[in-house]
């Protein structure tokens, strides 16, 4: 479980997020939404120890995150960043590096590590890509490989920064289903998303951020009822339901007075 208490963090001299109280609970998909530059990615990076923390703290499994060493932290939380280097490694090899926190003397990956890779590739439906180079994959395939790498870390929490960016709608929905499935298996999954429709459809809880602070948090229905998304994004959001009761949403830009 991840918990941020009064967290103020950023880069250089200036905090990018202020006084954040936030948590990702096991068995739940938490989505962080907000306009560009509001501090969503900074929040994830702060949890991963990749920013400067000015005040407050991050707790991983009840202990301050900085009290875990880098490998122990990696065993507790996996992270899929927004962008990554284009590498000329095979999919299987890159995914195998997700087992890096578990590597011990004589510093070779074991049969157990290879089995974990097989499992993760199968779970993501990309077994047939195992020998392909990462640089040869489509955006969707690459993103699945990155999630597979996070899966083999076997961490109880997974953070994803804009995992659906650059993916076509079919890939986006497939990925969201996978995240939902992972949370259903008991993992604490948190993702930064820009697509409000995905946020409202798939999230168990939504955290809305604005200007480096948490503007509101709650279930999708609570967030919609309070109108916070409409205020933050200057939108009108309408919701409907099809004959099976499945909800859908549409969005309209608020006109300036």
């Amino acid at each position: 479980m991840i918990r941020c208490e009064a967290l103020t963090a950023g880069y250089g001299q200036k905090p990018a997020i202020r006084d954040i109280a936030w948590q990702a609970e096991p068995g739940s998909l938490t989505v962080i939404a907000g306009p560009n530059g509001c501090g969503k990615s900074t929040l994830l990076k702060s949890i991963m120890g990749q920013t400067r923390i000015y005040q407050g703290r991050v707790l991983l499994d009840g202990r301050p995150a900085d009290s875990w060493n880098a490998r122990e932290r990696a065993k507790r939380v996996a992270y899929v960043p927004q962008s990554r280097n284009e590498v000329n490694l095979t999919v299987a090899r890159m995914v195998l590096h997700g087992r890096f926190p578990y590597i011990v003397y004589p510093r070779h990956y074991t049969k157990e590590d290879q089995d974990m890779v097989d499992w993760a590739l199968e779970k993501m439906g990309i077994q047939d890509l195992r020998h392909r180079l990462m640089s040869e994959l489509s955006g969707g395939e690459r993103q699945k490989a990155c999630v597979a790498m996070a899966l083999v870390q076997n961490a109880p929490s997974i953070l994803l920064d804009e995992p659906t960016t650059y993916l076509d709608i079919s890939c986006q929905l497939e990925l969201m289903d996978i995240l939902k499935q992972l949370s259903g298996e008991g993992k604490a999954v948190a993702a930064v998303l820009h697509d409000l429709s995905h946020c409202l459809t798939f999230a168990d809880r939504i955290t809305v951020m604005e200007n480096g602070a948490v503007a509101d948090a709650g279930t999708p229905d609570e967030i919609l009822d309070r109108g916070i998304l409409e205020n933050v994004f200057r939108l009108k959001i309408r919701r409907g339901a099809d004959e099976t009761g499945k909800k859908y949403y549409w969005f309209q830009r608020q006109k300036e007075d």
Binding site: M48, Q50, A78, N85, L89, T90, H97, P101, A150
Partner: protein, 330 residues
């Protein structure tokens, strides 16, 4: 995939053996394979024994050690700086080592044992400076290369200045700027060679860490790599490799750029294949260039560094344009 890479590795090993043989056999006096075996077995003619043991074998070993050291230094620097254009000669690492060697020669003439250490510290200072610059300014790949070029020029100018005011000892090492093996001495080669072999083994031992570092800072941190520690460690190893090579081979250019690129093309980025392939290819490349430099225009011998620059500079331009083309496609 693994089979292909295995074959590529076996091929480059055969090429390495062939290059070693040619480098030892060919020259102003050609020595046959059977004669080389006879000398190794202690039954060769005295004249051939003298040529092989005093000149050819030390020179072949120097080429192989310098080539593999500079090539692997190139892989390491490119992975740490995340910049495929960052060869040790381009960003000033070799020039840093060169300046330190020249200063060492100026202040402590004839102290050969100090030269590898001086070259190491010179290379380390240059690579840390460039790394600090990249980190502080967030410079793009091309900007970093341009910054490296200016650092390179500055360090070379400083070397020239020391030469200008230097004594006769320095004049004898002036060919050092061009890079070559005609004046390689066993006294300098042995400590530097041991240093290079140890560093190569250590880099290979840390292959997983180097590969993870190549995935990018955020990914490396997220899987638990202590990136500050390993960046510093790898840059230190790269400086040690480049510095030790420069201490006896002079400022050889482009090996650390060409060999890693060829290796990546042949075997990909998995360090278990990439590092041995790069080391062997770098060794072959330098041995073949050295062989060409001393045989093509016989009885004249041109410094190996000149030939390497004739091959390396167009290759660098090709990479530069390829980068630009890739960026414009993105």
């Amino acid at each position: 995939m693994d089979k292909n890479r295995g074959r590529a590795l076996a091929s480059v090993f055969l090429l390495f053996c062939l290059s070693c043989f040619l480098s030892a056999a060919a020259g102003s006096v050609n020595i046959s394979f059977s004669e080389i075996l006879a000398v190794i077995g202690g039954r060769g003619q005295a004249v051939h024994e003298n040529i092989l043991l005093r000149v050819r074998i030390p020179r072949t070993a120097a080429c192989a050690l310098a080539g593999s050291g500079l090539a692997v230094a190139g892989v390491v620097i490119q992975n740490v700086l995340q910049n495929p254009l960052a060869g040790p000669n381009i960003i000033g690492v070799n020039a840093g080592a060169g300046l330190a060697v020249v200063l060492c020669g100026y202040f402590f003439p004839l102290s050969y044992r100090l030269m590898p250490a001086a070259a190491f510290f010179g290379a380390l200072a240059a690579v840390l400076f460039i790394y600090g610059l990249a980190k502080k300014t967030g410079a793009s790949r091309v900007t970093l290369v341009l910054a490296g070029v200016s650092v390179n020029s500055l360090l070379n100018a400083a070397s020239d200045l020391v030469h200008t005011f230097g004594n006769d000892t320095l004049t004898s090492t002036y060919s050092f700027r061009l890079g070559g093996f005609s004046a390689v001495s066993v006294q300098v080669l042995v400590p530097a060679g041991i240093f290079i072999v140890l560093c190569l083994l250590f880099v290979c031992f840390l292959g997983n860490e180097l590969e993870v570092l190549g995935l990018g800072e955020q990914v490396a941190m997220s899987v638990g790599l202590n990136i500050r520690l390993f960046r510093f460690l790898f840059l230190t190893l790269a400086a040690a490799l480049a510095g030790a090579a420069v201490s006896f081979a002079g400022l050889l250019g482009f090996v650390g750029l060409i060999a890693p690129h060829m290796a990546r093309r042949m075997v990909g980025e998995e360090c278990g294949y990439l590092l041995p392939f790069t080391a062997l290819f770098g060794a072959c490349f330098v041995m073949v260039c050295d062989l060409a430099a001393r045989t093509l225009w016989a009885p004249y011998e041109i410094p190996t560094g000149i030939l390497l620059s004739f091959v390396g500079a167009p290759f660098f331009l090709y990479l530069l344009f390829q980068q630009r083309r890739r960026r414009s496609h993105d």
